[in-house]
């Protein structure tokens, strides 16, 4: 769907740009544009500059492939972080989910996706080789695989555990379970079955 022809050129152009973004359809794009038109110029300027700054100053950390301004990134250089644990995630954004928990203080390694032959992604397309090299040089005790519990996340986790275990490092996987505050009645059967399998001593 394109913006109506009658709109001024710059308006139509910005609606078009916004609607290329994920989760934003043409209606939301139009709302954003009209909102911006009602705001002072300096706010629009700040937004535009922030967008350009992200592209110009953010790059991949050469060690863990997270997004960073400085290479290596703060996670890799912070001496207070525990270098004996590496948490493996699919995408850089997953770091923020783990960091929000406040309970993990180790290092990270971003794969850059999940194994999915349908999408032409095998281990060679991901940062797997670099992970193996890090295990050789950094000698961690534990690798925590924190991929999504879907088919692709599952296959990737199993692949990594078989590849890495012979290197003499413990490989663990996030537990499956019931959401906190959830109700047994409302859990779907597969989640509940996995939670039963992964039960532990009190």
């Amino acid at each position: 769907m394109s913006a109506p022809r009658s709109l001024a050129g710059p308006i139509a152009a910005l609606i078009n740009e916004f609607s290329k973004l994920p989760t934003i359809g043409p209606k939301t794009a139009a709302r954003l544009v009209f909102h911006l038109l009602n705001r002072p110029r300096h706010e629009a300027q700040a937004l535009a500059e922030a967008i350009i700054a992200v592209k110009d100053h953010v790059r991949l950390c050469s060690v863990c492939f997270s997004l960073t301004e400085d290479d290596p990134c703060a996670f890799c250089t912070d001496e207070r972080r525990d270098a004996s644990t590496i948490c493996v995630i699919a995408e850089a954004k997953d770091i923020y989910a783990i960091e929000r928990t406040g309970v993990y203080h180790g290092r990270y390694h971003v794969l850059g996706g999940l194994i999915s032959p349908m999408d032409g992604i095998g281990p060679a397309q991901l940062h797997v080789k670099e992970l193996v090299e890090r295990i050789g040089s950094e000698k961690p005790n534990e690798i925590i695989v924190a991929t999504n519990p879907n088919a692709e996340g599952e296959a990737t986790a199993i692949y990594l555990s078989r590849l890495l275990q012979p290197l003499g490092v413990a490989v663990t996987r996030l537990a499956y379970g019931l959401p906190i505050g959830g109700d047994l009645d409302y859990a779907d059967e597969i989640t509940l079955a996995k939670a039963l399998e992964g039960r532990r001593h009190l």
């Binding site: 769907m1 609607s19 359809g25 043409p26 194994i115 999915s116 032959p117 349908m118 032409g120 095998g122 281990p123 088919a151 692709e152 599952e154 296959a155 199993i158 692949y159 078989r162 590849l163 779907d188 059967e189 597969i190």
Partner: protein, 365 residues
């Protein structure tokens, strides 16, 4: 269960429709292309969330519009339930939203709330058509019966697609990865096979009984024909047979770059007096067998759930001769609720609740 009310909005040729329905048989009468099948399709979607006529959901949206909805209220043993399914055509494809009692739910929680058995003219080719049609019958019944089957089926199909893509990816697919997909295929595929084995035993018993009524001098047998044969329906037996078969066929799978082993290649075998029905059966014999199979599907789903599914017949009475049509009407008479489309009222259904459908409008007839 009984569907008390159905409401459509911009669904196919209906702009708006509110219809109170009766228990027993409801007949939708009308000329061709007036909207009889559309109404039946909408009722089926309240159960399965999917159209039985198309895989492109957007087709059900009234031409030139962006949103179609179906809502219904059903009375079940557990009480009254309100269901709705909304299909939206958007810039990024078609979206469906399901609700149960006003709460948006995921498809898996919607599927099977209202169970349906459909019988459409295309089903008349169940016997001599491709195996996918026969697997479709098993999948539709089992997914509505147990949501775990639906989830297993989705995960299984995903694993098969990933493995096939890997096999196609080059001359030397990653062996470690191939093994991971094979393990998933065995683990999940085994659940599908056990569920099908169990279901087909019940289906066969009911189909053979129904067939004996329709054609007392011939004996129908229905058997599950798994792609991986196994002895004794235990999990361990299936897993052992499955792994062995995958090993045997590994070279052929690599060479043909496709998945040759597993329940995605299952079938049903139907025989009449021990002769393959698809090869040796006459048209009439095949129709009788299809009818027996459909009656059995209805009976098994009813008995498994202690709640009768809705029975939906799209224009099939006219496809059957008098004796077979009478047998089907006898089943209709015993159903808690059934919906039938026809161009003319069959004499056996004089007592049914009738609706006349003209150009997307419905009136009690």
């Amino acid at each position: 269960m009984r569907l008390d009310r159905v409401a459509l909005s911009n669904f196919r040729n209906y702009s708006t429709l509110e219809l109170a329905l009766s228990s027993g048989v409801n007949v939708f009468l009308g000329e061709n292309a007036q909207g009889k099948s559309n109404l039946l399709e909408a009722i089926a979607m309240l159960g399965t969330g999917k159209s039985f006529r198309t895989t492109r959901d957007a087709e059900v949206i009234r031409e030139g519009l962006e949103l179609a909805s179906i809502a219904g209220t059903a009375t079940m043993r557990a009480g009254s339930v309100h269901l709705s399914c909304t299909v939206t055509r958007g810039a990024r494809g078609t979206r469906k939203v399901y609700t149960v009692n006003g709460q948006a739910v995921r498809y898996a929680a919607f599927l099977g709330r209202a169970k349906v058995v459909t019988f459409v003219p295309a089903d008349l080719h169940l016997i001599d058509g491709a195996p996918s049609g026969r697997r479709g019958l098993l999948n539709s019944a089992l997914a509505q019966d147990d949501v775990r089957y639906f989830r297993h089926l989705a995960r299984y199909q995903r694993a098969v697609q990933q493995k096939a893509a890997l096999l196609r990816s080059g001359e030397h697919p990653d062996a470690a990865l191939l093994q991971i997909y094979d393990e998933a295929i065995v683990e999940i595929g085994t659940e599908l096979m056990l569920a099908r084995d169990h279901f087909v035993r019940e289906l066969a018993r009911e189909a053979e009984r129904a067939h004996a009524h329709l054609a007392p001098h011939e004996r129908l047998t229905v058997r599950y024909h798994p792609n991986v044969p196994f002895e004794g329906a235990t999990r361990d037996a299936v897993i052992t047979a499955f792994r062995a078969r995958l090993r045997e066929r590994a070279a052929a799978e690599a060479q043909r770059a496709t998945c040759l082993v597993g329940p995605h290649r299952d079938d049903l075998v139907l025989e009449l007096d021990a002769r393959a029905l698809d090869v040796f059966g006459s048209q009439g014999q095949k129709r009788t067998a299809v009818l027996a199979l459909k009656i059995a599907e209805y009976t098994v789903m009813r008995d498994r759930n202690d709640e009768a599914p809705l029975l939906l017949l799209d224009d099939v009475l006219s496809e059957l001769d008098d004796a077979r049509a009478r047998a089907l009407v006898a089943v209709l008479a015993g159903a808690e609720q059934a919906f039938v489309t026809a161009t003319h009222l069959p004499p056996e259904l004089q007592a049914a609740r009738r609706f006349r459908i003209v150009a997307g409008a419905v009136e009690a007839a």
